[in-house]
Amino acid sequence: MRFFIFLTLLVFVVGVQTASAQALDISSGGLPTITGSVNGSVTGTANVTGDLVVTINFGEVSPLNTNSVVKVLVPIALRSNQPYQVSVSMSGLTNANSEALQASDVGFGVQNPRLLGGAGQICNQSSHIIRSPFNNDPALSATISGSGRVSYPSTLASLSGPTVILSGPELSKNNSSKRQQSDGWIFDAVFALTPQFFVSGVSSATLIFTISPGPNVPC
């Protein structure tokens, strides 16, 4: 009997942990796309129940690429049964030569929050907020700075440690323990890189998107 009680408590604990795990979730929001590239590519899954694992190769970004901009759009799906926030942290892209590709040369914005199917939660008391300065499509908002270099309203250099880019109320109607095709929201992470006379070389960076409990806003 004592053993049975112990087992019952263990099952309860496991149940709580499972519920906690399903409270916040980030995954692929669909197939990422790339335009304007030369020898570039982007890989990811079209399955919205797949993990968010995307590899972007911007390709050639010297003037050999005569396109005005290389643009990558990465749909990201979010699920939660509580208020949430999404933060991004970056590693890499630390070229010492200021004329080489810098984090500030990669435009980064967040666009187009939208329902992921009928089980996505619509809250009337709070909205999903794209944090400043990330609410822009960098490919459409690039300008030429005084030095002649292309600049964007927000870039990878805008990420200072884990930086919150998005927050809002709960995202999912149900409390399913599994990712489903239609139980959250999607937003687009947009990256833009204008080919320029950068110093030659290969550059790389890694972004980690994290969903966590956000400001306690009502639904």
Binding site: L7, I56, F58, V106, P195, S200
Partner: protein, 230 residues
């Protein structure tokens, strides 16, 4: 009862574990980009032709367009009483890496004697090098391997023995460029700016011929500039 509960619990644990695998609070976006060395040469603008008798610029240069200039130098015999017939061709170079501008020239004449116009009779040199404008790297030293304007007194004179005018300075005539030969080199030209930026390194290329008692006939001079990033 415990006998039944154990398998049940194990099943629940297993199901829970499988469920958790399907969800995540983090996602990863990895990115990379490549910048290759890039160099280009274009026209720096309109050609200036002076001292000519007849002739003219057949195909002029257009700034920041591909360099494809055609010039008729006109009469080069003694009936042209000017000191020199000179063509000044503006060049514009751009690069994201150290560059080398080389040149190859061929001179063919319908004449059959040593008095025909030859490569050594065509003076050549690069003029003042200018790095200016937004987006241009102003630092660094460009090395001009030529002697500059070939019509300068220091760059040529009449041969006291033969009486023929000669361009005598280092790489001051086209005979020095019968094969690809460096004319100019230097550090990277452009800062990180897009190709739509029209600025760059500007340098005039001078071609000069002194009218003399050359053997009559027609002469064709062909010059090819090539810029590379070694």
């Amino acid at each position: 009862m415990p006998r039944l509960t154990k398998p049940l619990l194990l099943t629940i644990l297993l199901v829970s574990a499988v469920t958790c695998v399907g969800q995540s609070t983090t996602g990863t976006v990895s990115m990379s980009a490549t910048v290759s060395k890039f160099v280009e040469i274009n026209s720096g603008g309109a050609v200036t032709l002076t001292g000519n008798s007849g002739g003219g610029v057949t195909t002029d240069g257009v700034a920041n367009s591909p360099l494809a200039v055609s010039i008729n130098l006109g009469e080069l015999g003694p009936s042209n009483t000017n000191s020199f017939v000179t063509a000044q061709v503006p060049l514009r170079l751009r690069s994201n890496a150290a560059y080398v501008l080389s040149m190859t020239a061929t001179v063919t004449s319908s004449g059959t004697t040593s008095n025909r116009i030859g490569a050594a009779d065509v003076g050549f040199g690069l003029g003042t090098i200018t790095r200016s404008g937004s987006g241009v790297n102003p630092s660094g030293t460009d090395t001009n391997a030529t002697s500059g304007d070939p019509t300068l007194a220091a760059n040529g004179s009449v041969n006291a023995t033969t009486g023929r005018y000669e361009f005598t300075a280092v790489r001051s005539n086209l005979s020095a460029f019968s094969s690809a030969t460096t004319a100019l080199s230097g550090p990277f030209i452009m800062n990180a700016v897009p190709r739509s930026n029209v600025n760059g390194l500007s340098v005039p290329a001078f071609f000069a011929i002194k009218p003399q008692f050359f053997e009559n006939g027609t002469t064709t001079i062909s010059v090819t500039f090539t810029v590379t990033a070694p």
